[in-house]
Symmetry: C2
Subunit: 165 residues, 2 copies
């Protein structure tokens, strides 16, 4: 069976910030994202799911070294824009499966989530794109998660070679 996943990587040097209760009004997302951008902080991932009863949650993944400054920007912007609380977490690991032909996407996402669930690992965040699926887990589970996903896709686990930074 041809599995179009050609690599799995882990990033242990990231943190997440979640802004809850982001008002579902135009221009608010722009205000939040803009506040970070103007400090030249690199945002690895932005996730905002569909609003529910007038608000949405927005999560950002940034490098650990940028967490403090990103938090300052988020807290100021959240307060100004009427968003809710800002929470964060440093001890996360982001595991990404990358593939050229992720057309059979749903099978790959299911396989990745199942591999983690079977290993007893709790999934904290999921995002997909045409060429990758990223899952966030606790950093303590990172190495085990990487191995489980490698195994699920029949790839060789080479910790030094595949770890990202």
């Amino acid at each position: 069976e041809d599995v179009p996943v050609c690599g799995v990587a882990i990033d242990l040097n990231e943190s997440r910030i979640t802004i809850s209760g982001v008002p579902d009004t135009r221009g608010v997302a722009a205000g939040l994202v803009g506040a970070i951008a103007e400090r030249n902080i690199n945002i690895d991932t932005i996730v905002q799911s569909f609003p529910h009863q007038g608000t949405a949650d927005m999560s950002l993944v940034v490098k650990d070294r940028d967490l403090r400054e990103a938090l300052e920007a988020c807290e100021a912007a959240a307060s100004e824009l009427g968003a809710g609380e800002v929470s964060w977490e440093e001890e996360i690991a982001r595991v990404s499966a990358v593939g050229k032909g992720m057309v059979a996407h749903e099978g790959i996402a299911a396989r990745m989530c199942t591999a983690l669930g079977d290993e007893g690992i709790n999934i904290k965040m999921i995002t997909t794109s045409e060429i990758s699926i990223s899952v966030v887990v606790d950093s303590a589970a990172g190495e085990r998660a990487l191995r489980a996903v490698h195994k699920a896709f029949g790839l060789v686990h080479l910790p030094k070679a595949t770890a990202v930074t």
Copy 2:
């Protein structure tokens, strides 16, 4: 100023499904995603943000033609796994900015969100990857959103050439 966005596309043939109150317990995401995968339904995008007070929301973007079957799968799985309500929406447009060098990511996301906000367009979902930023808006705002994002990145708006399906 070198802007690494080389194209903007719109997809008007997609629908979203949101499962609220997904229990934050290992194996649950696998159950939901697996239920769709085993029906061979292509999932365009999976988004699950960080859990809050024991549950998370998961949203899926699928092709309009697959909505009914995807919903059946989601409702059955949600009920079995103790998740909350399943909501959906057909009238969405997904606008994606794609670029080779999205290293200056945060500036691009900010520019895209700002362009939409300034145009009076409400953002319903945001996801980013290394090479793209996707935003979901109401389908009625789709064409205007596409134009606004083209303009924001100094690209020529060619409706026929750039519309995706």
